[in-house]
Amino acid sequence: MEAVYAQYAWLVPLFPLIAFLLILGIGRTANRTGPVIGVIGTSISFVVALLVLFEQMKGDGMAYVWNDLEWIRAGNFVLEMGFEVNPLNALMLVVVTFVSLLVNVYSIGYMKDDARISVFFSYIALFTFSMLALVISENVVQLYIFWELVGVCSFLLIGFWYNKPEARAAAKKAFIVTRIGDVGLFIGILLLVWHMPEHALDFTNIANAFGNGDISGGIATLIAILIFIGAIGKSGQFPLHTWLPDAMEGPTPISALIHAATMVAAGVYLVARMYPVFEASPEALQVVAYVGAFTAIFAAIIALTQRDIKRILAYSTVSQLGYMMMALGIGAYAAGIFHLFTHAFFKALLFLAAGSVIHMLHEQDIFKMGGLWRRMKVTGWTFVIGGLALSGVFPFAGFWSKDAILAEAYHSQPVLFWIGLFTAFLTAFYMARLFFLAFSGPAKSDRASQVLESPFVMTLPLIILAVFSIVAGFVNIPGSDRLATWLTGEAPGEHGSLLVIILSNVVALAGILLGWLMYGKKQLPQDWLSGRAAWAHRLSYRKFYIDELYDYLIVRPLRVIGYFLHLFDEFIVDGIVRLIASMTTALGRTGTRLQNGQLQTYGLVSLLGLVIIAVAFVGWRFVIHAG
């Protein structure tokens, strides 16, 4: 079938870019028009993305590649720019534009009173552009450019309220920590340039080279691991996860868009996009699977004891991203992408609902909320739906995708299955804890007892996302492998398992029940664990002291080195400069002594000069004639 809309896929990132430039051009006076421009730009992109997706769904999953724009030519090496449309990135296009559109709408309400609302909307537009361009990038270098650009947007938006010192610190931390991962990715790309036949860098050729076995063995593993390090940084996997919870200092819509639904999924997307590289190296896949599984359970344990509503959700995001990585690592490609897809909806929903609470209550500590259920009906209901979807309860979206991952894990790597199952239990428990503490029971502060529901412009995105959190899972129900076939072009083996379905549901419900008993009905004392094993509670509450560990192991030694380098700079480098400066000054002082204003002295000096020149000239003539 002839691709029609796919040819115009480049329009999708174009509109947010235009919106960005427009808002930038209008400047700070665009506080009214900025949001409108942002929403319109994103909606047009969303429509185009939908058309592209529908066409891809009708077609047989053939990729459309356009790369006629020659960018770099150096000798035989030619690097082209272009874009590629395939099922995977058509899906990503729709997810990104959809969430971005809803977040744009939501932000109209959330950021209403902010003086820099137009700047905010221009950043969102820039981010949406970069993310979409990243998704349809046709070669690795192009992807890397936009990869960095989304990082910049993330930095700008985390530090949006830059007069808060924590926001500044968080922005810097996010930028630096992800940079560590980016260096890995960059070295990976360099290795690819080095080892690829003809130095080709587009995804099609990379897939072919690794598929044919042109590159295999150790070097394939090395490249795969380096690319995965990039993904670790972006997707907040252990050990580079520390920036993501801190990134919650940014405005909540940003947490929903960038740090839950789209940008952090870029790491997962990268691994999925480079999947042939990983398939060439079973070791690398193992690493991906175990890092993902460890991150999933590790972050879930931390989320159990946090008090800040956004931090709980942030750790939950880290945990779910770990799930996706684990899925990719065990070869459940479609399941991982499926989870990415559903997670984008319900995690954006949860963040936006949390944002709705924060917006009306100006409070982030769940122990100071309580009783919101009665006063914020829409937020409460949508939060429940998001929570159930995240916990993986039938028939919400998260259930289907999580079940798909668990079923695959059950068949290929039982160890990871049990880790995943336990994580699911923890997930259900901390979501129940969050919900019952924040929404049920008596109000724990005056403000919480008289809080009002958010305006319609904020609840509308919640309702839409809630609907998708319910139905998105039916895209790929067990027993039908349409999604997998469409994504990968080949039918995978059937791994549905009734046992897994029942187990994952039981576990999720058990988690919720336990949460209800402890925090809802209060039949179990809340401190039965923290009372008995205070150290465990402390360990989880202080996030396993990872931040402190990094502080002592990396930050402080670097500070010490920096101090000495500073001394070197201050006294040696600057010393030399100062020495030269003072020498010149001294020379100048001597010069001024000659300038005494006495014309007679000047005349005398001129005469001396003349005599010297005359003597030299005569002497020269004499030497010439004598010689």
């Binding site: 300038q595 005494n596 204003g597 006495q598 014309l599 005349g603 005398l604 005469l607």
Partner: protein, 102 residues
């Protein structure tokens, strides 16, 4: 001895005396006089060459007339400056004329 050489030597001596005076004397008037001496040494040269030079002609003598005229003008201006200076600063000592330093 060649006729022109004696004139040249005399002119050189005159010039050197003038130069010495211009560079060493304290009084601005004497410095001005010394400059005149140097100019006249040049005049002497011009006239000597015009009479005993390789191609004797009147150009040198006419030039020396020019020089005398210019020198007269120069002295007039110079003296005027010196008087103005003396009136404003109350001195005619060259050593005090160090305003160029600033």
């Amino acid at each position: 001895m060649n006729m022109v050489a004696s004139f040249l030597i005399l002119a050189a001596i005159l010039f050197c005396i003038g130069l010495y005076g211009a560079l060493t004397k304290r009084s601005a008037i004497i410095v001005l006089l010394s400059v005149e001496l140097m100019l006249n040494a040049v005049n002497l040269n011009l006239v000597a060459f015009s009479r005993w030079g390789i191609a004797p002609n009147l150009t040198g003598q006419i030039f020396s007339l020019f020089t005398i005229t210019i020198a007269a003008v120069e002295v007039a201006v110079g003296i005027a400056i010196l008087i103005a200076y003396y009136r404003s600063k109350g001195t005619s000592d060259v050593r005090d004329m160090n305003a160029l330093k600033r």
